[in-house]
Amino acid sequence: MIEETLVLFKNIRNPDYDKSLKGYKKSGGFKALKKALKMKPEELVELVKSSGLRGRGGAGFPTGLKWSFMAKNTGKPSYLICNADESEPGTCKDRELMLKDPHQFLEGMMIGCYAINCRHGYIYVRGEYFPSIKSLNAAIDELYADGVLGENAFGKGKGLDLTVHTGAGAYICGEESALLDSLEGKRGHPRVKPPFPAVAGFNACPTTVNNVETLTCLPFIVNEGPEAFAGFGPPNNAGTHLVSLSGHVNQPGVYEVRMDVTLKDIIYELGGGIRNGKKLKGVIPGGSSSPVLTAEEIDVEYNFDALSKAGTMMGSAALMVFDEDTDVIKLLHRITRFYNHESCGQCTPCREGTHWARLIVQDFLKGNGNERKMKRLQRVGGNMMGTTVCALGDAAAMPITSFVKKFPLEFEKYYTQAAA
């Protein structure tokens, strides 16, 4: 029987937990920050590097390495921006962290700020997350009142401010450079890279953008040491991670697991199996932008490397399960509709491609599909891959190409049925 490994959810899974500052401190909170403040920022960066922590936002980039790219001695302030825009369909892990244990996350954020010499951190929260925003703001108020944040946060005269900024509902603002634009008050359009944010990010200053879950891992790493964190999972996939399990399972929810747990175990043991005893048809393993897996392919470890080997990706670890009754074409239509709506529209292939792809899928739904259109869909989707400024083009392309590749019979069924 697979069980959760509780690191980030240690407090949240405790029914008696009091999420206020008092409660968090009682549970051992802010020890890590004290420990971190005794270290030099560079040592902290090395510590995180050696822990093997990889970004939990989707790309899985090593966090310590990302920090070490920050331009130094520029004479400009450095910024740590927390990406709490969590907009990938199916993902809801950051919401839990911010809502149910805000102080743990804020401690992580403060450690992060200290590591990269940031004196003003921003938390860019998805606009729809009203309860999380409320909870975060209340927690920050508590920290200011307690003197943990403010003028002397990092010792005398070394202050830290944290600001919560809410998005306005655009998926693209979860892309880090679009997020920075949005935070600056502009239209959220992804920027051309280079320059990368580590050189010229928020207000053209060196900036690191980290995910909520990534930052929340920091207190544990500092407290227990990098080895303890790395010890949780297979090599190169350190730590536990939060899986947002949704779809046709008996017990959907956010689960914290080690990275050597298989996809199958998550679905059938943590998730309690498929709803109403149906058979599994497929799984979207890492948010709607990841290539789909069929029922036969789920016996794979749920981590960055294993999934990438299986031709898909872990993304933000949003696991969407669908059963045998699911109409795959309708599902794909919903996904293409989403990307059609959320494409920012600046790059030609994505702007026109997402729209065109939706129209083609819609054609299948109307019964106007044929083999030629299937090939065209494959081509239109594929052409968005790697041809745009940001990863939204790829994100829109991957489900399309993978659905056509993995469920050709479903498409066929649509147009043969229509013909009959």
Partner: protein, 545 residues
């Protein structure tokens, strides 16, 4: 300079330069829509993709790169014509045309449309799009440019123009995804004074000049490089005309003067070139019955007869000139007075003028000095007078001969006074108050009808070329002045603008060492720095970009 390789050919670049801009300087064509050298790089049209087969470190780039945003690196190898690149371009072309109305037959951009050109050159000619296109209604966004949103390819040049170049921010992008479109904010009309540039930088027919709409197909227009004479900035322009009718002025890029831009007022000056009303088409002589058309011979004879009769001394000859006259004409006029009559009495109107200064370069293009050659007059050492009141006493102090070039101090009080002067000669392209006053009026030509040079406010001497034909009985002003000199037996060997310019460069300190051959249409700076006491710098409120 460091070098990288493009299609096997070496291309020089400045450190930090992008591949596309280095290639453009080297004359290699890479198709692009969103890139504009004057604005920030967004790399969104994806048309300028190139294949970097060696990034300078022996490794190829993982995928095609946008050359507009890619830094050039020493030793880099770039291919712009291989199959991969061609495929990518075909793809972009196909995608851009999905929602484009393809209304070329009724589109004004047709013939100078980059979308058209690239479709022809790089497109596959096929489309598999079978659904209805996105359609927008008509929007009126102001007086100068017309917006047709259906044709837009979302390159965002216009949006960046109002943000980065004018700083007025009244135009922007709306909506997302395939509905991304351009419009003005809050349904307000455009307010900046440089809207015409938006039509210029628009690669398609989404923004077109209202002045030019439906007047001529672009491919019928002939083009001659020239400068704008609307103010003392002297923006470099191209005069575009057909059948001797000027249809528009387009800015010609010159980094030293106007970069890529010009103002809307300047654009509208094309109208004066077509104006027939109020132009002098014939020499006019005053007889008992009023003004009568006479021949050039009669005109010259009348003038020389009168001068012989008056025998004016050097203090009895006065010249008035306005600074619409070119360097050559001012020089000849000065020479005529000096050598023909021994007179130094020459003045031009020199009111104070304002030079806007702001964070945005483009604001500096409009000055309140609306004449093109005031700096030239100053360089020639001519005397300027601020007001008409200062000129009036000169007319009353026993002047026998008054020569007026252009329409300086064109006010009635002066002309009433001048009526009592025995001989008033006016050389001008326009029928003005001076024409009515003058005993003999000689029809000159406008700047587009002759080849001359002007000196702009910063001391840059710029040449204009003959674009359109003038009325056959008019003559270039310099030729008229030469005729007058011949009549007065002044030694004169010049017979072309070039020879006048050479003589002037020889004789005048202000134009020392300027070479006619080097004076291409981009112009040359005069050797000295200009001081103009009439110039006041007015700071435009720093707009926030």
């Amino acid at each position: 300079m460091p070098v990288f390789e493009m299609d096997g050919k070496p291309v020089e670049f400045e450190p930090g330069e992008k591949v596309l801009s280095a290639a453009m300087r080297a004359g290699i064509k890479i198709p692009h829509y969103c890139y504009h050298p004057g604005m920030s790089v967004v790399a969104t049209c994806r048309m300028c993709m190139v294949d970097v087969i060696d990034m300078g470190n022996g490794r190829p780039a993982p995928k095609l790169q946008t050359s507009c945003s890619m830094d050039a690196v020493e030793g880099m190898k770039v291919e712009t014509k291989n199959e991969k690149v061609q495929e990518a371009r075909e793809l972009v072309m196909e995608y851009l045309l999905i929602n484009h109305p393809l209304d070329c037959p009724i589109c004004d951009q047709s013939g100078e449309c980059v979308l058209q050109d690239y479709s022809f050159e790089y497109g596959s000619g096929k489309s598999e799009m079978e659904y209805s296109k996105r359609v927008y209604g008509w929007r009126d966004i102001g007086t100068f440019v017309a917006l047709e949103r259906n044709r837009c390819i979302q390159c965002t040049r216009c949006d960046r123009f109002t943000r980065e170049i004018t700083g007025t921010n009244e135009f922007g992008m709306f909506n997302r995804g395939h509905e991304l479109t351009v419009d003005t904010y809050s349904d307000r009309p455009m307010i900046n004074q440089f809207q015409g540039n938006m039509a210029d930088i628009c690669p398609v027919g989404a923004l077109t000049e209202k002045e030019f709409r439906f007047k001529r197909r672009a491919w019928k227009l002939k083009k001659t490089p020239s400068i704008c004479v609307g103010c003392s900035t002297g923006c470099n322009v191209t005069i575009e005309y057909d059948r001797n009718e000027v249809f528009r002025l387009k800015p010609r890029d010159n980094p030293e003067v106007n970069k890529w831009w010009m103002c809307d007022l300047g654009r509208l000056t094309y109208k004066t070139l077509n104006q027939r009303q109020n132009r002098l088409g014939n020499p006019l002589g005053k007889t008992g019955d009023g003004l009568q058309e006479i021949s050039w011979e009669e005109a010259f004879n009348a003038i020389s007869g009168k001068i012989k009769e008056l025998q004016p001394s050097s203090t009895e000859v006065l010249g008035l000139v306005d600074t619409h006259a070119s360097n050559e004409e001012l020089y000849l006029f000065k020479k005529l007075l000096k050598q023909g009559f021994g007179s130094d009495l020459l003045c031009f109107p020199e009111p104070d003028w304002e030079q806007p200064v702001s964070d945005f370069f483009i604001d500096s293009l409009i000055t309140s000095d609306k004449t093109p050659n005031r700096a030239g007059a100053r360089l020639l050492g001519l005397k300027g007078e601020k007001s008409v009141d200062a000129v009036l006493p000169k007319l009353t102090s026993g002047v026998k001969v008054l020569l007026v070039l252009g329409q300086p101090f064109d006010v009635e009080s002066l002309q009433v006074q001048a009526a009592s002067i025995p001989l008033v000669v006016n050389i001008s392209a326009w029928n003005s108050g001076w024409t009515q006053t003058a005993d003999v009026s000689l029809p000159g030509r406008l700047h587009a009808e002759k080849e001359v040079t002007y000196t702009n406010k910063a001391g840059r001497v710029q040449r204009v070329q003959t674009a359109i034909r003038a009325h056959h009985k008019t003559r270039p002003d310099w030729m008229i002045l030469c005729g007058l000199m011949e009549m007065l037996d002044v030694e004169n060997q010049v017979d072309s603008t070039e020879s006048i310019f050479l003589e002037m460069a020889d004789a005048e300190q202000g134009f020392k060492e300027l070479q006619w051959e080097e004076l291409s249409s981009d112009g040359l700076n005069v050797p000295q720095t200009l001081q103009d006491p009439g110039r006041t710098e007015v700071s435009e409120l720093s707009k926030t970009a």
